[in-house]
């Protein structure tokens, strides 16, 4: 075995998978996982753990995998993470745990994410559940939002014996894991529903179809329903548009709408009532993970897909693996250009985007080179569908209906980093609702910190 290179992971062939919604990455089997685990140096001062926002005991679980003790490996991961099958799939490991792996200096880092995924999948297939609290402590906590931050916070509190209820606005729990990240990266029934079930098995109650700020308020939960503390993990779900002419035409969607129709409402599946239109030629504006997800979804619905991004390849904010997968599947990248107008036909449908070419200017104060328009370089790209993937911001619904909750100028809730405490006593917050759109694992880290914060708050009360 070549210790410098990781054991390759099996994937669906690009041309086959570009036509289905099955998971792209097939994951390791037992032999492959044990072989990859053997590459871990089991460092005393493990750098990888410092790169993990929830500080999983990585050398610890990998040592168990190496020996074939998969159940023991799962219990080690479970001490720190409520959603390992999710994180193993969607974390940007190259910037986190794997980015710090010593093996990565001379060769390829240990495939920590793929090993975590293997362990979580193995545990699910073998019916192994995380351990429940031995006794309840009688304190009631409400969690707003069932995304990664809320599920993690709820899971941690339940393990400490709290009586936890999650309130979710949509009809299904999981947040971005169910409406945002597509099936081909994160299978909904097999993986997400199973991880939500694990959180439920810890004793957490989940009430769907409750829009906090409308169906009830945080103040009412605390004053009338006996919740002693509240965690807000409501995310950043408000889509941005460009504000250019033609944006209201038919065929122009936010990535949130396009992905929600497809992922949450299962528009791609026969027998489901929600319609979706992907068109024949699709432009996705933006370069983040959401843009890649929207582009690869449109491709699977049968369209020719272009990603239009105003910076260059190096600056694409999406994960390298996602960009690589998108290219393999035939997504066309039109880099260093930006739409200035959407052109509309006589029926009110979008027919093309007028785009202008860009060049990168000098680095700004943050070190990022900002794109500058090249005068006179406009041209048209034909398209019958345009998907805007320009990022999202927190929905003001909760902050505007909760007395004494401080927000900043970006409408994000102001909360302490180490314990999630907000300006309102007993109310904690974390994840995208505080930071603006970020990653699944950072949201989980925030949910974890807030669970600790809530435990300290209620223990000292």
């Amino acid at each position: 075995m070549d210790v410098l290179n990781r054991v390759p992971v099996r994937e669906q062939e690009p041309l086959v998978r570009a036509e289905n919604f099955e998971e792209v990455c097939l994951g390791y089997n037992e032999e492959e996982a044990m072989a990859e685990a053997a590459r871990c140096l089991n460092c005393k001062n493990a750098q990888c753990m410092k790169g993990c926002p929830v500080s999983i005991n990585i050398p610890g679980f990998i040592a168990e995998v190496k020996e074939g003790n998969f159940e023991a490996a799962y219990q080690i991961i479970s001490e720190s993470s409520a959603l390992p099958a999710v994180c193993g799939r969607v974390c940007p490991q190259e910037n986190q745990c794997e980015g710090k792996c010593i093996r990565g200096i001379k060769g390829e880092a240990v495939a920590i994410g793929k090993l975590e995924r293997f362990v979580a999948d193995w545990a699910r297939e073998h019916g192994i559940k995380p351990k429940k609290a031995e006794k309840m402590n009688g304190h009631k906590v409400a969690v707003i939002g069932s995304g990664p931050a809320g599920l993690t916070c709820a899971g941690d509190l339940a393990k400490l014996g709290y009586d936890v209820t999650i309130f979710e606005a949509l009809h299904e729990a999981g947040g971005v894991l169910v409406y945002g990240i597509p099936e081909f990266r994160l299978p909904k029934d097999k993986v997400v529903a199973a991880e939500v079930e694990n959180v439920r098995s810890l004793g957490v109650k989940i009430e769907t179809n409750v829009v906090i700020g409308k169906s009830t308020t945080i103040d009412q939960l605390m004053e009338e329903e006996g919740f002693e503390a509240v965690f807000i993990g409501s995310g950043a779900g408000l889509p941005r548009f460009m504000g250019i002419p033609g944006e209201q035409a038919m065929g122009v969607f936010s990535a949130n709408e396009f992905l929600t129709r497809n992922n949450l409402m299962k528009a791609f599946k026969d027998g489901y009532d929600t319609p979706i239109k992907a068109g024949k030629k699709v432009i996705v504006v933006g370069g983040g993970n959401v843009a890649m997800d929207a582009a690869r979804t449109a491709k699977r619905l049968g369209a020719e897909v272009h990603i239009v991004y105003r910076r260059g390849e190096e600056e694409l904010p999406a994960r390298k693996e996602e960009v690589h997968h998108a290219k393999e599947e035939g997504i066309i990248f039109d880099l260093l250009q930006n739409p200035t107008e959407l052109l509309v036909d006589e029926n009110g449908c979008v027919r093309a985007a007028k785009v202008i070419k860009m060049e990168l200017g000098e680095p700004d104060a943050s070190g990022r080179r900002s794109p500058v328009e090249i005068p006179g370089s406009e041209y048209e790209i034909e398209a019958d569908t345009v998907i805007m993937s320009l990022g999202t911001s927190p929905n003001p619904l909760i902050s505007s209906t909760t007395k004494g909750l401080e927000t900043n100028r970006r409408k994000c809730i102001v909360a302490e980093e180490e314990n999630g405490a907000t300006s309102k006593p007993g109310v904690f917050a974390g994840g995208d609702a505080v930071t603006g759109a970020a990653t699944v694992i950072l949201a989980m880290g925030a949910g974890k910190a807030a669970a600790k914060g809530i435990h300290e708050y209620l223990s000292n009360k």
């Binding site: 949509l170 009809h171 409308k214 009830t216 209201q248 969607f253 949130n256 929600t274 239109k277």
Partner: protein
């Protein structure tokens, strides 16, 4: 699950249901709406709240069968349940947020078209309960499609019923009735119009000429109804608004109705296919010119 405790056919293709949803019933206000989803495969359908009983914990919805999903909804009977029922959503009507004494000074008229009568009813009822007078013009294509006439008569100060074909009440449309009242010298200083977009557009055209400030309740395509997708976006004045969180009520004189109507028809082909598939089942193989 959200059980249906009462189901009634009000007119051809128009149905009323009382649905048990205590959290919604406790917090809803006139002008707000809910989103319902029949079952696992169902889509999310926005419906305005027609009435509510806070003690019984029920919400009254009224809907017309216009496509595959509403056709499926009709098959639900008393004792059946919706899998999902979310709300209240949107902002309450401006009227109920205003000072009641100020409202009493205003001469208010509601113009309701077709099933739009259902969302008008809770507003008129609320005003009536708070001692505020208001007139209601309600209309439909024909006598058999009129709904909630008796209920409305109990709460409206003056009720004017119109039918396009003259089979009941005033012969003509709501706009004709409003014009006639105006010509008789009745001066309204606030109008609320709710109904199909085309009807709201024409009411607004008239009230603009007459100088009556007019509020409309918009009904664009929605998905989540909580502001996270923008499917329901509209142009109001110079601004883009999300009907589900900024509305559904807007200043009717500022709404771009033509664009809103185009956007509403966005999925017409898909909706037509779904309806045919539901009606004809496996015998639907295309060839009718509407399918690919």
């Amino acid at each position: 699950m959200y059980p249906i405790v009462r189901r009634e056919k009000l007119a051809d293709k128009i149905y009323l249901m009382d649905v048990k949803a205590p959290r919604v019933a406790k917090h809803c206000q006139p002008g707000q709406f809910v989103i319902v989803k029949i079952d696992e495969e169902g889509e999310r359908i926005p419906l305005t709240i027609c009435d509510y009983d806070r003690e019984a914990g029920t919400i009254t919805i009224v809907f017309q069968t216009v496509g595959a999903s509403t056709e499926r909804m009709v098959s639900l009977q008393e004792g059946d349940a919706f899998q999902d029922f979310v709300g209240p959503l949107g902002c309450p009507s401006d009227l109920i947020e205003e000072d009641v004494e100020e409202l009493k000074k205003k001469k208010i008229v509601f113009v309701a078209g077709g099933v739009g009568t259902a969302p008008v009813y809770p507003q008129v009822k609320w005003l009536h309960e708070h001692g505020v007078d208001c007139d209601v013009i309600m209309g439909s294509k024909t006598k058999d499609l009129l709904i909630l006439v008796e209920e409305m008569r109990k709460v409206a100060t003056n009720l004017y019923v119109t039918t396009d074909d003259g089979t009941y009440g005033f012969h003509g449309m709501g706009t004709n009735q409003l014009q006639e009242l105006w010509d008789k010298g009745i001066r309204y200083d606030h109008c609320v119009a709710i109904g199909p977009m085309i009807m709201m557009k024409f009411v607004c055209k008239l009230t603009k000429e007459l100088g009556i400030p007019t509020v409309v309740s918009m009904n664009p395509i929605m998905v989540d109804g909580t502001g996270m997708c923008g499917a329901c976006r509209l142009v109001v004045g110079d601004e883009v608004k999300f009907a589900c969180v900024d509305g559904p009520e807007f200043d009717g004189h500022k709404v771009d109705f033509d664009q809103a109507m185009r956007r509403q028809a966005q999925y017409k082909t898909e909706e037509g296919r779904a309806m045919l598939k539901l009606q004809e089942g496996d015998t639907h193989h295309g060839g009718c010119g509407n399918c690919q």
